[in-house]
Amino acid sequence: MTERLPGFSTLAVHAGAQPDPTTGARATPIYQTTSFVFNDADHAASLFGLQAFGNIYTRIGNPTNAVLEERVAALEGGTAALAVASGHAAQVVVLQQLMMPGDEVLAARKLYGGSINQFTHAFKSFGWNVAWADPDDVSSFERAVTPHTKAIFIESIANPAGSITDIEAIAAVARKAGVPLIVDNTLATPYLIRPIDHGADIVVHSLTKFLGGHGNSLGGIIVDAGTFDWSKDNKYPMLSEPRPEYHGIRIQETFGNFAFAIACRVLGLRDLGPALSPFNAFMILTGIETLPLRMQRHCENAKAVAEFLAGHPAVAAVNYSGLPGDKYNQLARKYAPKGAGAVFTFSLKGGYDAGVNLVSNLKLFSHLANVGDTRSLVIHPASTTHSQLDDAAKVKSGAAPDVVRLSIGIEDKEDLIADLEQALSA
């Protein structure tokens, strides 16, 4: 006897949220409070000792944030999740559970420019090293694995060009190496790609982008797939060894298939501190309710705009995996059959100067450093998000000097095309 499984859109509206038992409030209340009273001294001790489920202090957990966590966990097919202040915070918290000084994270070279910065420079001061591999060449991951490798990190749909990563092939490399595969699923969202179904052990998001979807609230989240055995060797002591912070409990032994999310909460978020505001959690939750509808429109518009640009005489090339003949079209059909996302790049025959002109002539597209808004956005990566890279690295990461990146919104596609048309001919 098995119960029927609800569909994605039902989960997007309902997962994690139920009417408030006390007031009957149907929308999720914003629990804008720092702390929560204990039932009695023993209850307080039980909560601090991780023996009971409950709320202590909003830096560790908050009921509004918990609804967001359960909802994204359900949408991704994970066992649990932890919401944090930003996508960058999610990455720090994840890696803190896995890495010790001298350890290595093996990352795809095509990443969000901010992640490349964080991995290369900020993590260096923790003694965490990064090795880079080419997501278009799976064997480059195999070659880069060393005894110090503790995790592999990729993006499902990769910034900035919207290229599609062969998640299953890289998951096989991670399994062979005995390390977890972490997938940043920000640009795809679980509506388009569910990395856990393809072998990911951990999924991270910037909730700021399509999940929140309205460009109004920062947030990040970590989803535990519940698939990785942290105790099979001594590689992950945060999860397998007695923790002095909690009188010697072992996190995996105690929390089973949601141990990683708990470690991120009680060892990572508690001690590093990047908590998400409950107000932001509420805004993002409201956004997620319409995620399927928005993603359908984002993808439909992106395809129409990409087709228009591909036929325009001023355009040298369009990199959109949803176009037949694109380098990533096969992978897009496999991993993202509902749509290839709404972030892509194109290059102009007029080079760098034409790119700068285009950006300044657009009247509906907003020139800013974000993606995944209801509004259509444009940026020139080489001078902004990827400006810290040298020219060769810019080309390798898909941000060559003549490249313009678009994030297509949910406006009427005819208006977006008209805006691009006037800007290209201005």
Binding site: P6, Q18, P21, G54, L75, N257
Partner: protein, 194 residues
């Protein structure tokens, strides 16, 4: 009976129906998972009996340890076995020899013995394997949702008002929510390998 997955109503029925639980393998060490589960269930009103021959003469949260099921000296509704799979069968056989066998035999997360389950079921005993009653209670009451855990339930109904501060009721109407198929597969592969 399919022991790969359980209907929520089956688990809810068991946790709502039983009043006394003998925990075989209960530990007095306050960082062990069995201690966590024992304490949690005791706080939810279950009449808990710790069974562990290594700790006779000691108490667990005020309850004296007994050496074996036959030493309990009164009928119990459920036996929760906190031992690994290879130690399940003798406990089940002992339970079946009791003057009044339990209504439910529950094997802890990670523990599964299909032959033992079949024996118990043939005697009319309900069986749950590879689950934790604390986690299931937390999941079906949605208390576990406070930890960001996927409870795999959805509900549009208002649950009973908490009676004791941060403690939610098991008596909640829900339907199935988001599944965790990848984790279930990984657990199955691991148990087949070991």
């Amino acid at each position: 009976m399919n022991h790969d997955s359980y209907d929520d109503n089956y688990i809810r029925g068991i946790l709502n129906g039983v009043k006394s639980i003998a925990m075989v393998g209960a530990s007095p060490v306050n960082v062990r998972p069995s201690y966590f589960a024992f304490k949690y269930l005791a706080q939810r009103g279950y009449d808990m009996i710790p069974v562990n021959p290594g700790h006779v003469g000691k108490e667990l949260l005020g309850k004296p340890f007994v050496a074996s099921l036959s030493d309990i000296g009164r009928p119990v509704d459920m036996i929760d076995i906190f031992r690994n799979s290879s130690h399940i069968m003798p406990v089940v056989e002992e339970a079946l020899r009791l003057p009044q066998p339990p209504k439910v035999i529950w094997m802890q997360l990670g523990a599964r013995d299909d032959a033992a389950a079949e024996k118990a079921e043939a005697a009319g005993i309900k069986v749950v394997m590879n689950r934790c009653p604390k986690i299931e209670y937390g999941r079906l009451s949605s208390e576990i949702s406070w930890m960001g855990v996927n409870s795999r339930t959805l509900s549009s109904k208002r649950a009973p008002i908490p009676v004791q501060g941060q403690r939610l009721s098991l008596n909640r109407m829900s339907v199935g929510g988001g599944n965790t198929a990848a984790s279930d597969r990984a657990a199955k592969n691991k148990s087949e390998l070991s």
